[in-house]
Assembly symmetry: C2
Homo-oligomer: 221 residues x 2
């Protein structure tokens, strides 16, 4: 019956337009449970869903906020994280290391944000959209810390599942270092942990070192 | 490699005991993705996991906090919700309408709380445990509102999946009314919505009305 859930439909038998707009958004956002990511669960039984990933990031922020190098408003970080992937209901999960898909990602996600946040009453639609834009821009301490959580979680999972999705996708340490840059920008301590995990992953043979061409490129002046 | 993740093990190659304690908790809590609930996804494709359920409650609190009859500290509500089901990693999900399992539930969950929150550094272990105790006791406005979200979400899902798990478990409107009581204690508006959904569910034949014995009992003075 999911396809029938619109605010008009709900209002027809439950009244209260504002609450029905909010309910429509909540029931639409629920589809985040059906969007699969590339990241394996730690028990390697399957990949995680976007909803599960989002919960884990919020929990990580709760536990790790003391490592932010700048003061952060934790409530704002949590709000940002709780909604940051909702656009993937329309845009799908884009694999971090898929450079082709990432070209169209921005456009697909902007369109999704336009549609999905607009389900909310106007004041909340504006607030949630502003939070999402702020997360994407990474220009505030809260956005930087939230993004650090979003990068660190798959790194932890790839490391603790013996390489996880790195190997099958030809990802190298250079790729991972580049992808993990936002961690160090939010937190020196978590940046150092990230560097250590990447180095250990190479040492343990679960992550390929830089490609030869890349390694040469880095050494050139 | 999940079974190996202890703070001692992590400290042996990553150092920084406090951060490793926090990481151990985060990676242990991740098992919430493997705990299945009875509630169906809205598309009825499968039941949800505890991690997905938790994310949805936090999102609901974010959207619906204006309906709390008392002022609430939203950050505290979010913190409570993000950790409220972590005990189910050890204790399992107890079906809301299984009166036999619910007898041992409290004991099982207390034991789980003792073990899991203690993985954190002492200050955070105390904070998280206090948040969980507060949620369970339902004596503060934040705990009441968080509990209202926890009750309302399965009600919404059962309603919008044509009865969901009610029918197959012999649940009646009387059972659901009793189970949903905390909603009205936190919010008159959400309590009214809950009552309306139960009445509509009975009207639509997707929820059995009260059992005969119960109906008689209710009418007696």
């Amino acid at each position: 019956m999911s396809e029938k859930i619109t605010a008009d439909y709900l209002e027809s038998f439950l009244g209260n337009r504002r609450l029905m707009d909010q309910l429509t958004f909540i029931l639409e956002a629920e589809k985040l449970k059906t969007i699969l990511r590339r990241t394996l669960l730690l028990d390697r039984s399957r990949v995680e869903t976007d909803a599960e990933h989002t919960w884990q990031l919020a929990l990580m922020a709760l536990v790790l906020s003391e490592y932010s190098d700048e003061p952060v408003d934790l409530q704002k970080v949590l709000k940002m994280l709780l909604i940051h992937d909702i656009v993937e209901i329309d845009a799908g999960d884009t694999f971090a290391y898929d450079s082709v898909a990432r070209v169209s990602q921005v456009e697909r996600e902007l369109k999704a944000a336009d549609r999905i946040f607009a389900l909310l009453p106007l004041d909340q639609a504006k607030e949630f959209r502003a939070l999402w834009d702020e997360f994407e821009l990474k220009q505030t301490s809260e956005a930087r810390f939230a993004n650090a959580m979003d990068r660190m979680q798959p790194l932890l999972h790839n490391f603790f599942t013996n390489g996880g999705t790195w190997d099958s996708n030809g990802v190298t340490a250079t790729d991972v270092h580049r992808r993990m840059e936002p961690i160090g920008k939010a937190s020196a301590a978590l940046g150092a942990l990230s560097d250590k995990l990447i180095a250990l992953a190479v040492e343990q043979g679960i992550l390929a070192p830089a490609k030869v061409a890349e390694a040469v490129g880095q050494k050139a002046p």
